[in-house]
């Protein structure tokens, strides 16, 4: 973040926690329970968000001791990006799919910010190489608008009207030491 630029915290630690709890319940409500669910976090910040959602879903289902690895995975979409050759080479992140696979499951993609929609398009391509889910849904912490593709989220932590020049920074304890969403221009 450039120094001196005005920035506002739009989501605090508690806001993020409440939003994730609500999304976890919405996922369970929409899918009539947690059976056949697979949460796939998109690295980097989608991965810890997916783990947090997974913990909340297991807690809400009354089986907090069930292995999180059977519910939550990560999906690296780097090689499916349409801007791969416009940027310097990106390091690859691991893809980890729960042992049950994706066939006939309901896959919930989890990412931090929904913006152009291109990441999600790439994720849909990546999923089709891994299996054939019964349905794919999308959960994001922040939807900041400006879509460039016909893609929408099923579960949204916060709708955040932004201009293209603004920056949305999501910080998570697992990676950044603190929980917050900051809007800066």
């Amino acid at each position: 973040m450039t120094s001196g630029a005005p920035s506002t915290t739009v989501l605090s630690e508690n806001d993020i926690s409440r939003a994730l709890t609500r999304i976890a319940h919405e996922i369970l409500e929409r899918n009539k329970g947690g059976a056949d669910l697979v949460l796939l976090g998109i690295p980097t910040r989608g991965a810890p968000l997916a783990r947090r959602l997974g913990e909340r879903i297991l807690a809400a289902e009354g089986r907090p001791d069930a292995p999180l690895e059977d519910l939550v995975g990560t999906l690296d979409i780097t090689m499916h990006r349409d801007d791969l050759r416009r940027n310097p080479t990106r390091a690859l992140e691991p893809t980890r799919i729960p042992s049950g696979g994706l066939d006939e499951k309901v896959v919930v993609l989890v990412d931090d910010v929904l913006y152009s929609g291109r990441t999600i398009r790439a994720a849909l391509d990546a999923i089709s190489d891994l299996g054939r889910p019964r349905a794919v849904q999308l959960a994001v912490l922040v939807d900041r608008g400006h879509r460039e593709l016909p893609i929408r989220a099923d579960y949204i932590g916060k709708n955040l009207p932004t201009s293209r020049s603004e920056r949305v920074s999501v910080r998570l304890t697992e990676l950044d030491g603190t929980d917050s969403v900051v809007l800066s221009s």
């Binding site: 780097t78 090689m79 080479t89 990106r90 690859l92 691991p94 190489d129 891994l130 299996g131």
Partner: protein, 328 residues
């Protein structure tokens, strides 16, 4: 990283980046759909002036798994046998729109010439040049060692992010003719491993004492003293010698007795030591069938890892945008 010409050019960070990318690539190869779209629309030329089956197939498989198109060019039966120079061959390939050139050449330094001469403006990958370098072989060997020696714990089975610090590696055999040995010594030294070369004096190159490794003439003593974590048997390159050893050693039998990995030496190795060979093997000469087929042998695994390593190298060289606009 613009080209991959020599294992000695790689920094520790670059080497670890390639090994980590290899781990990701290797994980995709157990899927039902192995093909990835990363290099869609790009063309990789395999320019092979020297006979090779496994390296060429490995590069071809790697490029195809990343959705690149592959053109194979072998010197036999091509314009080279009519007397075309490396320069003209390179210009022809560049004019046909190659996006990367993988080259194997019998002359040491040919890949370097190709990369720096301005004949082609694409990345160049050295797939073995003369008695000089074979960097992707060294990378796949390092990846295999890291998986067996540094894997586990937080870093996962592939030892993500780790180097080979403190690993003791013994490389045995025809070092003189071996680009694999040179590349491995360079890369393993960069990654922090301690390397000992074991060979008859006649099969060691002049100046080997300047390499960053120890040298021994006695395999039994080395196994007892070093207690290696990995032992790599090099192929005796009979095609580069005259028949019966060409004066490098008295007889194949004697070489096998003193430097071959037989059942006795296999039993003398530490429990966790892995047995490696870059292939193709001369069973009964540098390695016995018992050692080659033992559960500690990683020889088949090395071949599988070779595809993943070459995918990683092609990905890292080609997938990103080029710095200079219009060079593609």
């Amino acid at each position: 990283m613009r080209h991959l010409l020599s294992a000695a050019d790689l920094s520790r960070a670059e080497a670890i980046e390639i090994l980590d990318t290899t781990a990701t690539m290797a994980a995709t190869q157990s899927r039902e759909i192995k093909k990835l779209p990363a290099l869609r629309g790009l063309t990789v030329v395999n320019l092979f002036f020297e006979d090779s089956t496994r390296t060429r197939i490995s590069f071809e498989a790697a490029a195809k798994r990343l959705s690149a198109d592959v053109i194979n060019f072998s010197a036999k039966g091509s314009s080279v046998s009519k007397g075309e120079s490396l320069k003209d061959t390179a210009l022809t390939l560049a004019a046909m729109g190659a996006d990367a050139v993988v080259i194997r050449h019998q002359a040491s330094g040919a890949p370097h010439r190709l990369a720096t001469s301005g004949w082609v403006r694409t990345p160049v990958v050295n797939a073995g040049d003369g008695m000089h370098q074979h960097p992707t072989q060294a990378l796949l060997d390092a990846f295999t060692m890291r998986r067996h020696l540094a894997g586990g714990g937080e870093a996962g089975p592939d030892g993500i992010g780790r180097d080979l610090a403190g690993a003791k590696v013994v490389i045995v055999g025809d070092v003189l003719h071996s680009r694999v040995a040179r590349s491995n010594v360079d890369l393993l030294h960069t990654l922090g491993a301690d390397v000992t070369l074991v060979a008859p004096p006649t099969l060691l190159p002049v100046g080997v004492h300047t390499w960053p490794c120890a040298v021994s003439y006695d395999l039994n003593a080395t196994i007892a003293d070093v207690r290696p974590d990995a032992i790599m048997m090099l192929r005796v390159q009979r095609e580069r010698m005259s028949s019966a050893g060409g004066g490098f050693f008295p007889s194949p039998m004697e070489y096998s007795r003193r430097y071959g990995l037989d059942g006795t030496r296999l039993a003398a190795l530490p429990e966790h030591c892995v047995v490696m060979h870059p292939g193709p093997m001369n069973r009964g000469l540098e390695i016995s069938a018992k050692a080659a087929d033992s559960p500690r042998s990683t020889i088949v695994e090395q071949v599988a890892n070779g595809v993943a390593v070459r995918m990683a190298v092609l990905y890292l060289l080609l997938a990103g945008g080029t710095e200079t606009e219009g060079s593609r």
